[in-house]
């Protein structure tokens, strides 16, 4: 159980490619932190630097207050679960889990106790005598977790542990990891490219892109107040809608103008913009699909769209719309309140009107891609 602190950590490969830029982060004891981002964003490299599998080019890494830059992985007291499980194919499940304990020269009785205990928690007791190749993907995953569990390590690292599983198993294992975390009560660092995993598992999420940290925050924070276009687009599914619009500074406050439709901002937003001294300018307006209000008839402040595709998801519809200047918009519409006529009218080519309440609008500067209000 330990805190982890990264200060100005950099990874530069021999060929002068910088994979991670000035990474600064403090992870508290017993915190569950998720690194998330598209492939090649440096999240795995950072994790591997913490594990000691990659050299740290610059900066310092502290575990429990001790600088561990030059320590070998075995001396860092960490446990790690790999994406492809990395089970030793020539050993039984029991020996796989016991491997690290044997290296520590722990008495066999104690090893037995720990291994069987871990196996019980993970529900793999009956497979202890098998070799890894005789196991299914989910079972292998459990063994890999078991191998990390018995160590009682200070920090628990997981590198995309669920990405080799099918969708159903992934959901199940995700829940189990949450349970496991409660049982182990240790520091977790978890790497994934899947924003759903990040949102459901993490106490805090670190969103990365091209070796830079884009935003750090709780799931709620990064969802509600994304600091830039990338975070706004990355977190949330389906993706946030982006529309070209203009911000106009009027007497009564700021107004967003989309193709002549003017939508006012609320007081809070006005205050921030005012304080930052922002005038009238072009913006990119971001609105999440679930925050879009659908009007079946034209009204004040309604934007006219055409329906392209109507996807039936069961409890809700995903409507793919085009605005009049051809911005693509996705709208999530619960089916429960719809009348039969309304449902039938939602077909290709028909018109539909949408509008956005002030508090769900995210404003981004097209040049810097930064949020005008948050961050």
């Amino acid at each position: 159980m330990a805190s982890v602190k990264l200060t100005d950590v950099k990874k530069i490969y021999d060929n002068k490619v910088t994979a991670v830029h000035d990474f600064n982060l403090e992870i508290a004891d017993k915190e569950f932190v998720v690194f998330v981002g598209p492939s090649g964003c440096g999240k795995s490299t950072t994790l591997r630097m913490i594990a000691g599998l990659e050299d740290i080019s610059e900066g310092t890494l502290e575990i429990d207050g001790e600088v561990v830059n030059d320590l070998q992985p075995k001396d860092r007291n960490i446990a790690m679960v790999f994406q492809n499980y990395a089970l030793y194919p020539h050993m039984t499940v029991y020996d796989n889990i016991a491997f690290s304990l044997r290296l520590k020269k722990m008495p066999e009785d104690e090893i037995y106790e720990r291994v069987t205990n871990a196996a019980q928690i993970l529900g793999i007791t009956e497979y202890l005598t098998r070799k890894p190749r005789a196991l299914s993907g989910g079972q292998r995953q459990r063994v890999a977790i078991g191998r990390a569990m018995v160590r009682n390590a200070k920090v628990f690292l997981m590198d995309e542990p669920l990405s080799n599983l099918d969708a159903k198993l992934r959901n199940q294992m995700r829940a189990e990891i949450i349970l496991l975390r409660q049982k182990l009560d240790t520091t977790f660092i978890y790497v994934t490219h899947d924003q759903t995993e990040a949102m459901t598992l993490g106490d805090r999420i670190v969103i990365m892109k091209d070796g830079f940290i884009e935003q750090v925050g709780t799931p709620q924070e990064v969802f509600d107040t994304p600091v830039n276009l990338f975070v706004a687009g990355f977190i949330g599914s389906p993706q946030m809608n982006f529309l070209k619009a203009n911000l106009e500074k009027a007497a009564g406050g700021y107004v967003v103008d989309i193709l002549g439709v003017k939508l006012p901002l609320n007081e809070e937003q006005n205050a921030v913009l005012e304080q930052k001294g922002i005038g009238s300018q072009e913006i990119i307006l971001g609105v999440r699909p679930e925050h879009t209000a659908v009007l079946f008839d034209n009204a004040e402040g309604a934007i006219e769209c055409t329906i392209d595709v109507n996807e039936m998801m069961g409890s809700e519809l995903h409507l793919h719309l085009s605005s009049q200047n051809n911005d693509k918009i996705i709208v999530r519409l619960p089916t429960v309140d719809l009348t039969k006529e309304q449902r039938e009218s939602l077909t290709f080519g028909n018109k539909l009107y949408i509008t956005f309440p002030a508090k769900v609008m995210h404003l981004f500067d097209p040049a810097t891609e930064k949020s005008l209000i948050d961050g």
């Binding site: 021999d14 594990a51 000691g52 599998l53 070998q72 992985p73 075995k74 960490i78 446990a79 790690m80 790999f82 994406q83 492809n84 990395a86 089970l87 030793y88 194919p89 020539h90 491997f99 690290s100 290296l103 520590k104 191998r147 160590r151 690292l157």
Partner: protein
């Protein structure tokens, strides 16, 4: 099925049968061509009437005379020499090759690429060139001619590190994450090799031992150079070669055949049992380049 499609179907089948028949004929011919010389060697090793060319294959008088004569000649000495050389070479060469290939497959150090390029370029020189000086140095050390056996072992194993390609290709196929998992689990690099990689490398270890054993078993050039005319230091290849020189062939031809049979038997048996690993090594090595 309509009549025309039936006809077409039959035609297809007929042409396939014809094709397969042709292939069988081809394979039988190939097998014959490949095996006949070896049959001839075996047959002639039992031929008692011993002039070198008789213009027929089947011996008129069968007997073990040639083998009997072999055992009273220097052949036993050559055979022992070869066996000793091969065993030691197989042992040391395997260790060296595995050290080299494992390192180049698993470690990323600054000199790795330059080292590999350097060894590639080194391989462009004909190895025979170094023999001129090696012979003289070994001679100064007293390791040539009658004492050629230790000298030859030294020559064979010394540069074996350069033949790392095939086994490196094999190591490259073992996922790196196994090493990493073991290191996180608390293993030193040495323990990773001992406890994780070596147990998984049985095929390549056997392949390396097999090829290292077979190399000196049939080597002619180095053995001839280092033994330099001294019968006591020769291996089977050099010794038997001398039996086929124009002045000896008339007396020793059938003995050469008998010797050849005795030389081929152990290697062939070894090969039969370990064929699987050899095939794995050859195909794996080729794919990896």
């Amino acid at each position: 099925m309509s009549e025309s499609s039936m006809k077409r179907h039959m035609g297809l089948r007929a042409s396939r049968t014809l094709g397969n028949t042709l292939i069988y004929i081809l394979l039988i011919t190939i097998s014959a061509i490949w095996l006949i010389p070896f049959f001839c060697i075996v047959l002639q090793s039992f031929r008692v009437e011993s002039t070198w060319q008789v213009g027929y294959v089947m011996p008129k008088v069968w007997g073990l005379d040639n083998y009997r004569k072999l055992f009273s000649s220097d052949f036993t000495r050559w055979y022992t020499n070869t066996f000793i050389i091969s065993v030691f070479t197989a042992l040391f060469q395997t260790v060296i090759v595995l050290c080299m290939s494992y390192t180049l497959s698993r470690f990323r150090f600054k000199m790795r690429k330059p080292l590999m390029r350097f060894m590639l370029i080194l391989g462009f020189f004909p190895g025979m060139l170094t023999m001129i000086i090696l012979y003289r140095v070994l001679k100064d050390l007293g390791l040539t001619q009658a004492n050629a056996v230790p000298g030859l072992i030294l020559v064979y194993i010394a540069s074996s590190g350069m033949g790392y390609y095939v086994s490196k290709g094999f190591f490259d196929t073992i996922p790196k994450s196994l090493d990493e998992a073991a290191r996180v689990d608390g293993a030193t690099r040495f323990q990773v090799l001992k406890k994780i990689i070596l147990p998984l490398s049985k095929p390549i270890v056997i392949y390396t031992v097999l090829t290292a054993f077979m190399g000196p078993w049939g080597d002619y050039v180095f053995a001839r150079y280092i033994s330099f005319g001294a019968s006591a230091g020769m291996n089977v290849a050099v010794g038997l070669y001398n039996w086929l020189t124009p002045d000896q062939i008339n007396n020793n031809y059938t003995m050469f055949c008998a010797g050849g049979v005795l030389v081929a038997i152990p290697v062939t048996l070894l090969f039969l049992f370990l064929q699987k690993y050899y095939v794995e090594g050859v195909t794996g090595g080729a794919v990896k380049g």
